[in-house]
């Protein structure tokens, strides 16, 4: 088993963080995992993406040409990575920012109003966690607690209790909507 | 690289336009970065002197690396720190050209110190624009030779400790001691008055070259709001209240 997940969106949407939390959770639950970010001028240009591979044997390619899961947090990311998703895979996209759903019939398409949900929770920056919650459900590899614990580790060090609580809510919303 | 398009609506008269020696490419600098102002001033001076077609620029390695995209002039992209040597080669090969370099503090005053000092000492007839933002902007905010004492950077996480890493390097003061240079000045662009003074200095530095007077350097004390994690307005204040303590403005050497 080797599952590729791509998170993509604007810089500032917490794309890299969402991927990192997933990687951390997968590691804690005994999986092999690799997290590879986009870096350099691409990020200056305002876009960001990262690839997470979760596997039960040592990860081969850190580059994923046919992801099983895509989380597209904006339109350009959906356009860029949508066509690459493996048949039978899942496209989770941010319907708050993307008007038209991707034109594919061979994958499961999951629109999530990530920004609206985050705003309802009173923290615009939590949109990424809505996406991540949905990924956890779709993968079905480990319970949501694995991710809430990993997130607490990531954010806890930065001592933001309120943010933690809101993010937990956001994860849960994403998880239950998927 | 994205492009700037401006259309003048019918009935309007443009009073502030893009300098002719700039291309239509959008600057890649961060919002509020002083590089943007300084780059534009150089272009305005080239326009005013009418030398665009005989000017050759030398781009550094740093946030100004894309200078060759921004200008409508011939350009050489130099290895990190070597701009003054490359400029020397161009100027010696064809003295009719107007040759300028545009360099950051890491580029000019760390890795390129030797090239800069020796070009100045030879009185090389070139113009040097030196953007001193007290940090390595492009690589993500490491200490520069000009970083202020106590200033936190990613390589001085506890603040610059002068006992371990020395003091802000006063490159212009050093160069002013040499017999070679014709003009060494330090300016800033944190408010309109200073922007205008900087422009005058750049104009003089290019005129010097046209008149064959020799090496002219304009240091501009600047801010990098991105790596200092402050707003552009705070960046202006940073320069005025912090940086100028170590880098006082004014002419350091004028040979007439």
């Amino acid at each position: 088993m080797e599952i590729g997940v791509i998170f993509a969106g604007f810089g500032g949407q917490g794309i890299l963080l969402a991927g990192k939390v997933l990687a951390q959770a997968a590691m804690e639950r005994g999986f092999e995992v690799t997290w590879l970010p986009s870096y350099g001028p691409e990020m200056r240009g305002g876009t960001a993406n990262c690839t997470v591979v979760v596997a039960d044997e040592p990860v081969g390619s850190p580059i994923v040409d046919r992801p099983q899961v895509l989380v597209a947090m904006n339109g350009p990311s959906l356009e860029r990575f949508g066509p690459r998703v493996a048949p039978g895979g899942v496209i989770i996209f941010n319907s708050s920012l993307v008007a038209a759903p991707p034109n594919r019939r061979d994958v499961r398409i999951l629109p999530l109003p990530m920004n609206e949900i985050a705003q309802e929770l009173g923290e615009a920056r939590a949109a990424n966690m809505v996406g991540l919650g949905a990924v956890v459900k779709v993968l079905g590899l480990f319970p949501l607690e694995a991710v809430t614990e990993a997130m607490a580790k990531e954010l806890g060090a930065r001592g933001r209790e309120r943010l933690l609580a809101v993010n937990r809510q956001a994860l849960l919303r994403g998880f239950s909507l998927a | 690289m994205s492009v700037v398009k401006t259309e003048v609506p019918a009935g309007f008269v443009p009073v502030y336009t893009r300098p002719k020696s700039l291309s239509e490419k959008r600057f890649t600098y961060c919002p509020g970065c002083h590089h943007g102002i300084i780059t534009r001033l150089v272009a305005e001076v080239i326009d005013e002197l009418g030398i665009q077609e005989r000017t050759v620029g030398v781009a550094p390695v740093g946030c100004a690396v894309f200078l060759y995209e921004f200008f409508r002039c011939d350009f050489a992209q130099a290895a990190h720190g070597r701009a003054c040597a490359v400029a020397t080669g161009i100027k010696r090969a064809n003295p009719d050209l107007i040759v300028f370099t545009y360099q950051g503090d890491g580029d000019l005053a760390a890795i390129g110190t030797a090239e800069t000092v020796h070009a100045a000492n030879r009185g090389e007839n070139i113009t040097v624009i030196f953007v001193n933002n007290q940090i390595y902007g492009m690589t993500g905010g490491e200490m520069a030779p000009t970083t202020l004492p106590g200033m936190r950077t990613v390589t001085t996480p506890e603040g610059r400790d002068v006992r371990l890493t020395g003091y802000p390097l006063k490159m212009s003061e050093m160069l002013a001691q040499l017999d070679g240079p014709a003009y060494i000045t330090r300016q800033a662009v944190f408010d309109v008055r200073h922007v205008q003074m900087t422009k005058k200095a750049i104009l003089k530095a290019f005129r010097n070259q046209l008149e064959g007077k020799g090496f002219s350097l304009v240091e501009v004390v600047a801010s990098c709001p991105t790596n200092l994690r402050i707003t552009p307005a705070e960046g202006n204040r940073w320069v005025r209240e912090q940086a100028l303590k170590y880098f006082p403005l004014g002419d350091l050497k004028v040979r007439d």
């Binding site: 080797e2 997290w35 390619s61 850190p62 | 290895a79 890795i111 001085t156």
Partner: protein, 350 residues
């Protein structure tokens, strides 16, 4: 306990655990995190972190610290490594141990900061002037990067030959779980009687690569090459994956090596008998094991992020016993497993 770490950070931590007490650097992408990690951690753990005014200065600081008998390291990426080449040649000539990390990016010139493998020749064939070699280790995972950094310090000390870690931007930037090796207590590091420690009660020690007498210098170099031959006998490392029944073996190192592992898995799923040979030491190059494999494998497809550099060593090893096609990408472009797989299919199973 496993921790999730970036390649750059794992290499920095491994160096500290290997007893590196002097680290000199000049910032460059994509190895910035290594520099930052050292800035944050090394001073607190009793070491020296110093940002030099250039790579030229940094490598010569390494020369000084190595001569003083301390475990020392510098790191950079391609353009910066070019500047270090003079110093590396002097380290090799003066028989000083040191570790140099190159997190490769695309060149020549300023190129870009995307991952590449265009510095293979520079690393394995000299790079600087003169007749010398470096021990060159090529990790493909973050775990292996940490282990090879520690090994690099040991080998470099044991043979008094500088060692280089040849990684690339992908490995530097990626995060993976790492089981960090236990720190080496400084007192366990073998003493260095040749170090410049003050000529008290002994004849002076000199760190030098200078000898005006060609005959005498020849003898010094002959002794050096005896050491290189010993390294070639003892230190060759490589990994073979699914080679037993392979009709085609991919030859790739570093991150390309692991990408090719995915290619092997996909090929096997389609019933193609494909394997992987991954050199871990690039110098000494695993020529013997590759030559042995060539007596039963008809095709070796070398895959690199370059126009074909290690490819030359593959061909020299195989010595015409098998076909040796090449597939590479330039400029920082990384081929996908499927792209490599379709290249594989041109040579096998048809």
């Amino acid at each position: 306990m496993k921790v999730l770490m970036r390649g750059n950070e794992a290499m920095a931590e491994a160096a500290i655990r290997a007893g590196c007490r002097c680290y000199f650097c000049y910032p460059i992408t994509p190895q910035g995190e290594l520099v930052e990690y050292m800035a944050r951690h090394l001073p607190r753990r009793g070491g020296v972190f110093l940002q030099a005014e250039s790579e030229v200065a940094a490598i010569n600081m390494v020369y000084g610290a190595a001569a003083a008998g301390v475990r020392t390291m510098t790191s950079s990426s391609s353009p910066g490594i070019s500047l270090k080449m003079e110093g590396i040649s002097y380290l090799a000539g003066a028989r000083l141990p040191a570790v140099i990390v190159n997190v490769m990016r695309a060149g020549p010139g300023l190129g870009n900061i995307a991952p590449a493998q265009g510095d293979y020749f520079q690393a394995t064939k000299g790079g600087g002037h003169g007749d010398y070699r470096l021990i060159v280790l090529a990790p493909s995972t973050v775990q292996e990067a940490a282990e090879l950094v520690m090994l690099a310090f040991d080998l470099s000390d044991r043979y008094r030959v500088p060692a280089m870690i040849l990684a690339d931007g992908m490995l530097g930037q990626m995060m993976e779980p790492v089981e960090l090796p236990e720190p080496i207590p400084l007192e366990r590091i073998p003493p260095k009687p040749w170090a410049l420690s003050g000529a008290k009660g002994r004849d002076p020690n000199v760190a030098s690569s200078f000898d005006l007498d060609p005959h005498r210098f020849r003898e010094i170099l002959r002794a050096l090459w005896d050491v290189y031959r010993e390294i070639e006998r003892n230190e060759v490392r490589w990994e073979e994956y699914e080679t037993e029944d392979a009709e085609l073996v991919l030859v790739a190192y570093g991150t390309m090596g692991r990408i090719c592992k995915t290619v092997v898995r996909r090929a096997r799923k389609e019933g193609l008998r494909v394997g992987l040979f991954r050199p871990i030491t690039l110098w000494p190059f695993p020529s013997e094991p590759l030559r042995k494999l060539a007596s039963r494998v008809p095709v070796f497809l070398t895959v690199e992020l370059s126009a074909g550099q290690m490819w030359e060593d593959v061909r020299l090893s195989v010595e015409g016993r098998a076909k040796t096609p090449f597939y590479g990408e330039l400029g920082g472009v990384v081929p996908t497993p499927d792209e490599i797989l379709s290249e594989v299919k041109k040579h096998v199973g048809g």
